[in-house]
Assembly symmetry: C2
Homo-oligomer: 319 residues x 2
């Protein structure tokens, strides 16, 4: 098995060799190159490659699908940034900010079809299953995004609805990324589903960790503290507090108008509820479920190591 | 073979039975039902069904793909309306106007993936070819839309560039619709390509006829005359005039500020160039090329009738 760094170098190299059309069509394709060059962790394509390799299959065969998953993910970011009116993505101007809304829409559409085209390159025997997994996941991702939008205008979102929303919006794509690697490798349906569950749980752990770091992260790592609190964002912490006996105090804390008082008051409610601990427990629960899925899969013991490592690294991350 | 009316009733019935999710996901799917219910000519799915039937294959087998083509077409309309800021579509509020920009984007994305999902329902032996044709066509449609956007800010667009743009933006989807019906029916590659060429030429004829009707249409049929002229829209007529010896007069006519004087002056240049005749000749040339493709295809003589009829009806239409 390769290391994380080797996988991401491999993916970045493949992205550079994509050879998108230029010339008269540069208006459509340059924003795509720009979006893909911005990097990120390349977690999704890495999962596809890792899984393919874990089942003893040559990693090259999964590369087009790994790229397709990454391009799909970046397509959702282009459109999400339009919907959220976000000017910044990964510390640089978003495609919308740099090239305009219309380009973000049309180049985004193109990315979705480019991603589909890469899925069609799967070996003939596996292509229908790859396409089915990819396409049904795409629809789930849109459903998750719709629920997220709907939640903004609702005051009665339950924690379980929230977990279902983040599962759809972010986790299913991780599950799909891992499962496609397994399908390409010719794994059994059961093994492919175990890998899906592994990555899906990873996604849930990742998102809850993200919610926690907004409040309890180390500001030295660059991310400002309390952004979610100021935006009244529905998070694991907020919805847990709202369904606790301290709901009234939480509402009062959220009603504060001064920014730093609001962050302080909400954090005090969270502290009183032992929220940091609650989050850590939820993250650990999902990480353990991820690892338990890997233990059951028919992959050689030595290939399981990096899956465990990845699960721990995500749940222990500080940024 | 069915009649046009029978095909479109069949398609409308299938659209009504699509059974899209509601409940918590109504925010995503209701706009899709709304967009699909608005009708239109159903020309694209009809081509898929007609072609499948012409090769002696049961039309039912092509129905999911016909629906997929129609859903894809409507997805492009949702996103085009956002890009053009169009509030009206087929005489009703556009999805953007009725549900907002974000919904038009996200429900549009969903339609693209729903369309892809319907293509995946093609019989196993034909699915890879169907998907390949559908997906590469989708990318060409975006490229056409990008060229159309780019043309707005250019003063040196040639007639041949324009023809390539409308080929990509509108004709290739007609070609794809017809070709997919042929693929499903098990037609040879050569026959499938002939059907593609038939529908592609139909699309070109249709668009040039559209350009002509903006100037020479009968206002009693409802469409206001001169809309393209007032918007300085690059059309077959405008670009032909700009590459003629009357380019200077055309520029002067377009510079008029009073609306009715502008329409009158431009129309006079067109009249002097015998533009109505030029357009009719171009429409006829493409219609004949369409029909010539059909004559070469291996379909029973009696099944060719409705393809010829469709070609004539499009080029003779007044609206």
């Amino acid at each position: 098995m390769l290391t994380s760094k080797e996988y991401s170098d491999y993916i970045n190299g493949a992205i550079k060799s994509l050879n998108l059309p230029g010339g008269k069509l540069a208006g459509l394709y340059s924003p795509i190159s720009y979006a893909l060059a911005t990097g990120g962790k390349r977690l999704r394509p890495m999962l596809t490659l890792m899984t393919c390799e874990a089942f003893g299959h040559p990693v090259e065969e999964a590369l087009p699908m790994a790229l397709g998953i990454e391009i799909f993910h970046n397509f959702t970011l282009l459109h999400d940034d339009v919907m959220d009116n976000s000017d910044i993505r990964r510390g640089r101007p978003s495609v919308m900010a740099k090239y305009g809304v219309n380009t973000a829409i049309l180049s985004g559409d193109t990315m979705l079809s480019l991603a589909t085209g890469l899925m069609l390159k799967a070996p003939a025997a596996t292509m229908p299953a790859v396409m089915e997994c990819f396409n049904s996941t795409a629809i789930e991702v849109y459903e998750g995004q719709q629920l997220d939008i709907d939640f903004e205008n609702r005051n009665d979102v339950s924690l379980s609805e929230y977990l279902e929303m983040i599962r759809l919006k972010t986790s299913v794509l991780l599950g799909c990324a891992a499962k496609i690697g397994a399908i390409i490798a010719g794994a059994s349906d059961n093994d492919a589903d175990l890998l899906y569950r592994y990555a899906e749980c990873l996604g849930l752990a990742f998102q809850i960790q993200d919610d926690m770091l907004d409040v309890y992260g180390n500001p030295e790592f660059g991310k400002p503290i309390g952004g979610d609190i100021l935006n009244d964002k529905k998070t694991f912490l907020m919805l847990s507090a709202m369904s606790s006996p301290k709901a009234a105090e939480m509402r009062a804390a959220m009603a504060q108008s001064d920014k730093s008082s609001k962050i302080k008051a909400v954090t005090e409610v969270y502290d009183a509820l032992n929220m940091r601990q609650l989050c850590s427990e939820a993250v650990e629960r999902y990480s353990l479920e991820a690892i338990s899925a890997i233990e059951k899969a028919n992959i050689p013991e030595e290939n399981k190591v990096c899956f465990r490592k990845l699960a721990y690294s995500l749940s222990e991350r500080q940024v």
